[in-house]
Structures are given as C-alpha cells and as structure tokens.
Symmetry: C2
Subunit: 247 residues, 2 copies
C-alpha cells in the first residue's frame, strides 16, 4: 500500500485484526471514534449504514467488523477521503464500504430522505464563533472545528438520512450536551440511549455517546458510566475490552 | 408535638440533629429529597430560597442546615402543609422557614417574578395521561403523579420565580431527562450541572439531579456519577456521608 508524506499504518484494534492509514499532521483516529463504533446499535444483516465526517474511515472500518450491511462513509477533505479509500482496500473491504468525497449537507439530495437504518457521526467539536478558524483551513482545523458544518447542520442531515425508526449515533463533548438533545428533538430524533465517559473516578465526564431514534417516543436510558482509566492511570478492563474489539 | 393518626417522628439525618413528622399513608420523605438538598448550590448568607412541592417540608428543613437565608416552602395538600408546619416548629426553625399552603402556579403572582436566588423542586414524577389518576386524589397519588401540575407548569413556575442568574435545582427520573432539559431551555433556565444517581455499578441511572441558571450561558458540566449501594447492598461511603449531613 502506497503511503504519502508522513503517513503510517497503525493497528485499528489492539488485536491487530485491522490496520488503518493515518498521519499525525493530517488526521489520526481518536478514542472517541472507537467508542462510538462500540456504542452504536448496528444492524447486522439487513439495512444500510452511513457514517458522516468519516475522516480516515475509522468508523466504517470498525463497523464492518460487526455488520454485513453496506456502509457508506462521507468525507469532505480530499486527503482524508484518499486515506480512507486506501485503508478500505488494504483491509479488503471494498465490497462493503464505499467512501464518498463530498459535503454531508449534500447527502440527502444524493441519497434521498429516509434511507438509512443507522447514521453515525463524530463531528467537529468546536464552534467557530470567531473568523479566525475560517482562515485556518488546514486538515486538523477542519476535522475539529465547525468550519464546513455546524452542529445543527449535522443533526439536520442525520435526521433526513435516517429512516423513520432508524438510529442516529453521535459522539461529542459533554459541554454541548444540552445543545445536542435540543437539536435532536428539533429534528425529530428522540434520544434513547446516553452514555457518559469519565476519564477516571470522581472526575467530570469528558465524552458523550448518544443514540436517538428518528420519530421515536420519549424515554431515554442513562447507561452506566464508562471510565477510561484507573486511579493508577491504566486502561480500565472495560475500555481495554473495547480496544480489543470485544462487544 | 401533637401527632395525628399514623404519624410518627423520624430522624431527618442520620446524625439525629433534626426530626421530621411523617406518615406511611400520607407522605414520607425519600432519598430523592435528601440528594436534591445536598446537590443544590445554596446561597449561604444573602438571598432567598423557595422550595416547591415541599410535601412534609423535608427540603426546607435540610436546606436550613446549610444556609441562613429565608426559605419559603409551598405545598398544595393541606395535610402535608400542616405536617411541615409542625416539623418546622419542632425543630425551632419558624424564624427561617415559612410554609405557604397553595398552588405553585399561583406563586409568581403572589411573590412577583425574578425574586429568588434558588428554587428547588422535587415534583411529581409520573405523567397522568389516563383519567384514572385524576379520580384517585389521595395524598400519595397527588405527591407522585402530575395531578395538580405538569412538568411544564413546574418548570415555567421555577423560571418565573428565579432571578436572572438565580438557580433552579430539580430531582427527577432519568426517563424524563430529555423533556426536562428541553423545557429548561424553553423557559430560559440553562442546565449547568447534571448528576446521575445509579443504584449500583453497571446498572442504569434511576435518579437525575439537575441545576440550571436563569438566563445562563450554554455550558453544562456532567458531574461524576453517584452510586447509592455497593455490590454488597450497603450504602456507599459517599451516600452515607450525605445521609449524615456532611457536605
């Protein structure tokens, strides 16, 4: 597999069953993506999945290990789209995963509304209230800041793409939690399962996993917290299990 | 102190510093109220507090141990209002705590808007979609079901009573969480601190503590989870500390 500039091939899961191309200067997948892929309720044999803001394809790659259904990934940055495609080839998953190079906001027009059983998204976390970030259009800024899409545009797009009864799963920061649940409601995605990730005991949560159902009824479950590290700074057994790809 | 029918005097905190009148057939305070009183950010020396749906006065009594400011309790049920008043006398707190026998929805007209630094409420948890509960107007049904006030009426009233910058603290069930945060937003109470209570490890949350600020900015903190019981079924050290009145 051809590698460009400072790209390298990393293990995607600790069991070394999958590899992924990444680059410290362009994009490297985060724990957030791994936890979202583990958290989402995935259709196994029937249906279709779409992943928005796919970056280097980490979530489609991980979901393919749990599901036989077709998976579409969408990435707006040419360089990341290209990395994702090469990782899909490298893992021999071109039959199951298709990447689209485009803007997530154009996907409902491309696919039509109400098409997917699961929409996953690990969106940019940081609002860009100042113009500063808009002039900083490097890879990492676009992946992390709401340069090309706001949180509201992401949620609206997820809502359009999901079937009625289909699921939308997102990972984000807890500080945006209230924004997210109110936007979910506004766009008729009813939050059904929420899990907070805590770096360790007695600390505030630093990650939010949320799954809603398009046109679902109001009744949310707060799942047990997930702790990332022990007091000794080691992975907790639960996180280690996730990193080893155990469901 | 005069006791009526099956009333009894119970310790309010495990350190036996306060007592409260209750009755198994009418109203007995719950862990929920104790946790709310512990969770709320209480003005210590200046300001005013109002507690809605006060029942037998458990929250005003508990808050008086943390604060010197005047506390108003509001209870619609005559019998509970009477129990609360006798408990306040018994604990010699008549200078600090005043109970009002009335409907919480009438309080903004009585006090005016924007008057309180803290509004606390442990509202009825269960919606009454069927007419069944409306015919069941016994004490416990009214305390537990939305017979006299809906969740939206509670939130709207809290919003009116709180000053701009004042706090609203509520305890409720996690299943209503999304309803609560969307109603908070609708009535301009921005959720700022949220804590979920889990009965024990690896179980779903069964209680929600939430505090918002009237006209606050969007930025919520997810506090560490609170576990009630150990795997052995005993109080966790943290819950035990709360029940002993340690802040």
């Amino acid at each position: 597999m051809e590698l460009k500039e400072d790209e390298r091939i990393d293990d995607l899961l600790a069991d070394q069953s999958m590899q992924i191309i990444q680059s410290p200067s362009v994009f490297a997948f985060s724990l957030d993506a791994v936890l979202l892929a583990h958290f989402a309720n995935v259709p196994i044999k029937r249906g279709k999945i779409i992943d928005l803001c796919s970056g280097n394809g980490v979530i489609p790659l991980l979901l393919s290990q749990q599901s036989q259904v077709p998976i579409t990934g969408v990435e707006i940055q040419d360089r990341l789209f290209d990395m994702a495609n090469r990782s899909i080839q490298m893992n021999q998953l071109t039959d199951q995963i298709k990447m689209i190079h485009g803007d997530l906001k154009d996907m409902p027009a491309l696919f039509g509304n109400d098409k997917f059983d699961l929409v996953t998204v690990n969106p940019p976390y940081f609002p860009t209230s100042s113009k500063k970030h808009h002039n900083h259009n490097d890879y990492l800024t676009i992946a992390r800041h709401e340069v090309f899409c706001t949180l509201e545009e992401v949620v609206e797009t997820c809502s359009k793409l999901a079937k009625s009864g289909g699921k939308v799963a997102m990972v984000h920061r807890p500080s945006r939690f209230i924004d997210i649940v109110t936007l979910f409601r506004t766009y008729k995605i009813e939050p059904k399962r929420i899990r907070f990730v805590y770096p360790k005991k007695d600390r505030e949560a630093n990650m939010l996993l949320i799954e809603g159902i398009r046109d679902g009824k109001s009744d949310v479950k707060m799942l047990p917290p997930l702790y990332a590290f022990t007091d000794e700074g080691e992975y907790t057994p639960e996180l280690e299990g996730i990193l080893y790809g155990r469901k």
